[in-house]
């Protein structure tokens, strides 16, 4: 993981991030591919689910995914 990279779980809501790596196949098929832009809308480490914006779509995703998706602030 590069110095500026963080996992999505730690991302600040309402800021755009670029995906560095994503091992979750389902999310890749939904467009959360490497180099795509992602934004957190609702996040809480204590909850099981969070909301992200990828492309034009809002998704409820498991917080567990966000612990594996590596992102960098644009």
């Amino acid at each position: 993981m590069s110095v500026s990279a963080i996992f999505l779980i730690a991302a600040t809501p309402d800021q755009d991030y670029i995906i560095n790596s994503n091992p979750i196949q389902i999310s890749i098929e939904l467009g959360m591919t490497k180099d795509s832009v992602i934004r957190v809308m609702k996040n809480s480490v204590t909850k099981r689910q969070m909301i992200v914006i990828s492309g034009e779509t809002r998704y409820v995703i498991p917080t567990a995914w966000a612990k594996e998706i590596e992102v960098s602030l644009i």
């Binding site: 389902i26 890749i28 939904l30 689910q49 914006i53 998704y59 409820v60 498991p62 995914w65």
Partner: protein
């Protein structure tokens, strides 16, 4: 076919004239539906499939769609895309194009796109993808005729896209090795070798199951080689390759005139998704649904009662007496037919209001939000937030609610939700509740109705806790779900949807109620035994009712109230039949068609609790059997019967003791 919530069922209804259920959330359609349209004197069959994001499947409904595409001999795929989410939607499109079947790409919601400043170069998109592209607005039925003509053209003169997606060099190298090896098997499966090889590299379960051992070995070696070279799974590399292609296509064909579009949905969600706003709001919506359904209906019900009384009961009753009709015909008419008709007429407004609320929740986009809001709460009881969707559908009918459980990816969550859905009172129980509450609690009917629904849901959560401890151990699975943009549903569309559902319900309930009334009235009209001491005549139904009534005595059903026992047995076939049983078994001495035989309020409430909780109807049993197997269907039937008996017994005795 297409992604979830792209308007497939709306388009299907527009093309075929069918009346498919639609909604603004993912997972409205969970099974394939067929319809037809005629063009130039030729009949075409159209199949509506559940929505899928890709050909990789994660839930049962997705599997139905994927398997249909793989296994049926279709002439043409109509791929419907939500133009507002074009990039994500094109992922499935490109997977389908690689399948090398004739295809039409159908861009839906083009009217919304134009309003928001999104313009698409359709000829260029068609050229880049190698297949016809048509733009439509399924909801407004714009472009449907052109689509029908395009379908006919492509079916008569099929053209197949020869699009080539450049993948990572490591994937390309392995594909070149695999393609010659799989040619024969691909031919046997009626698909192209390049697509077959790609599916093997992607580890597609269905294709893998068909492959020979040699093909599997080569695919496994290829996958290992790709992973060693790139440190990435081949399926991820393939998906990334497709998205790279899509972004290139979008760059060349899409034009946003206003890139700083504000999302009103996001602003609403900032408020709605706060737990201390979202959860109370959800309960408030539910409370309004039930109290308004009775509150607003009551004045109308009064006028319906007056109308029925004057026209049908007094008017025709007097006529039947004047022409000296036999007593049993008069009894069937006044107690059975008029009673049944009146009950059905009184149901129209409460049911219509409940369906209006359900349509509003479905079409506004609120349904998906409820899953997110309720996830933490549902998790306390070992359930996933997504389980709330089948439960809301269950307010209408339990059968589609059980089918909606297919959208739950995890087997544990799916089975648990299937077992809990019948605790949500379906529309078929409303006739019973309405008849009882209007008769015994006319002033508080809305509150009593709401309390019954709440109690059912509470029992569902208690059962969830119990099952979680006994056999459904572990945590509910996390889920992924699209949050559609909020839409203000057109009032007309809401009323049409609610009207259609109410009509279907009234017709179905009407059939059951009238058939039961007719059969029971006939059986009850002819005495088969006369008591020598009292001179009282007894019919087959009276005798049967009196034989089974002792079983229900502990829950407050007295010997004279044998109609209540007959109703419960009839309710096993359809819950509306309970109403039919009461209406048809009334006697001249029975005020309220048998309802007058309840001696106390504890008896009434214990009976309603039993109806609320006991074994679901036979159609639900069959549906659960098909979805979960005989064990779970039987478990549900027996568990609910025992629970209903225990709850009604406890309530009756405790309430009677307190009141004494």
């Amino acid at each position: 076919m297409g992604n979830p919530n792209t308007g497939k069922s709306t388009l299907f209804s527009a093309v075929t004239g069918a009346n498919q259920t639609i909604g603004n959330w993912s997972g409205v359609t969970v099974e394939k539906k067929s319809g037809y349209f005629d063009q130039d004197d030729v009949r075409y069959e159209v199949v509506d499939l559940p929505g899928i994001y890709s050909l990789t499947t994660y839930s049962l409904d997705e599997e139905i769609a994927r398997n249909y595409i793989y296994q049926s001999s279709l002439d043409l795929i109509i791929n419907i895309l939500d133009v507002m989410n074009l990039e994500r939607n094109l992922f499935l499109t490109l997977q389908l194009l690689q399948f090398r079947k004739p295809m039409i790409i159908c861009l839906n919601m083009i009217d919304i796109a134009e309003k928001t400043g999104l313009f698409i170069d359709l000829p260029e998109l068609s050229r880049l993808l190698g297949c016809p592209v048509v733009s439509i607005s399924a909801a407004k039925k714009n472009g449907i005729d052109f689509l029908r003509k395009s379908v006919v053209e492509v079916v008569n003169k099929p053209s197949i896209s020869n699009i080539q997606i450049p993948f990572h060099p490591a994937v390309e190298a392995e594909l070149q090795t695999l393609i010659p090896l799989v040619k024969d098997q691909a031919n046997l499966s009626s698909c192209k070798a390049d697509w077959y090889a790609l599916q093997l590299l992607e580890n597609d379960s269905l294709i893998f199951s068909k492959a020979s051992d040699i093909e599997k070995d080569f695919a496994a070696t290829g996958r290992d080689s790709i992973y060693r070279q790139t440190n990435t799974l081949p399926e991820s590399l393939i998906a990334e390759g497709i998205y790279a292609f899509i972004r290139n296509v979008c760059q060349k064909t899409l034009n946003f005139s206003d890139k700083s579009r504000e999302h009103i949905s996001d602003k609403i969600d900032q408020m709605m998704l706060l737990p201390y706003v979202g959860i109370p709001l959800f309960f408030l919506v539910m409370f309004c649904m039930f109290t308004l359904s009775m509150g607003l209906s009551k004045p109308l019900i009064h006028y319906i009662e007056v109308f029925f009384d004057v026209v049908f009961v007094k008017g025709i009753f007097s006529f039947l007496i004047s022409v000296n009709m036999p007593q049993w015909v008069i009894l069937i008419w006044s107690e059975g037919i008029c009673g049944g008709g009146l009950t059905l007429a009184c149901l129209i407004f409460p049911i219509l209001i409940i369906y209006l609320f359900i349509s509003l929740i479905e079409e506004s986009g609120y349904m998906a939000r409820v899953s997110f809001i309720m996830d933490r709460f549902m998790n306390l009881f070992g359930m996933s937030g997504k389980s709330i969707i089948p439960m809301i559908i269950g307010f209408g009918c339990t059968v589609p609610a059980v089918l909606a459980c297919r959208t739950l990816c995890n087997k544990r969550d799916r089975l648990l939700t299937v077992l809990l859905v019948p605790f949500v009172s379906c529309g078929a129980k409303i006739p019973v509740y309405v008849m009882f509450t209007l008769f015994f609690f006319p002033k508080y009917s809305g509150l009593v109705l709401f309390s019954l629904y709440v109690f059912g849901i509470v029992m569902a959560f208690v059962t969830a806790q119990l099952f979680k401890r006994l056999s459904f151990r572990g945590n509910p699975s996390e889920f992924v779900m699209e949050l559609p943009a909020y839409r203000i549903p057109a009032i007309k569309s809401l009323f049409i949807s609610a009207y259609n559902r109410t009509k279907m319900f009234i017709l179905r309930a009407g059939k059951t109620i009238f058939v039961v009334i007719f059969l029971f009235s006939i059986i009850n009209a002819f005495p088969i035994k006369t008591d020598k001491e009292t001179g009282e005549t007894k019919t087959l139904l009276t005798l049967t009712g009196q034989v089974i009534t002792p079983i229900f005595k502990p829950i407050g059903v007295e010997k004279e109230n044998w109609q209540a026992s007959v109703g419960l047995v009839a309710g096993l076939f359809a819950k509306e039949a309970i109403v039919g049983a009461f209406l048809s078994t009334g006697t001249e001495n029975n005020e309220g068609n048998g309802l007058g035989n309840f001696c106390s309020i504890p008896q009434v409430i214990a009976y309603l609790l039993f109806v609320l909780l006991y074994t679901p109807c036979v159609v639900v049993f069959i549906t659960v059997y098909n979805e979960a197997g005989l064990f779970y269907a039987s478990l549900q039937a027996v568990y609910q019967l025992v629970l209903a008996y225990a709850v009604a017994f406890l309530f009756y005795h405790v309430a009677t003791y307190i009141l004494l």
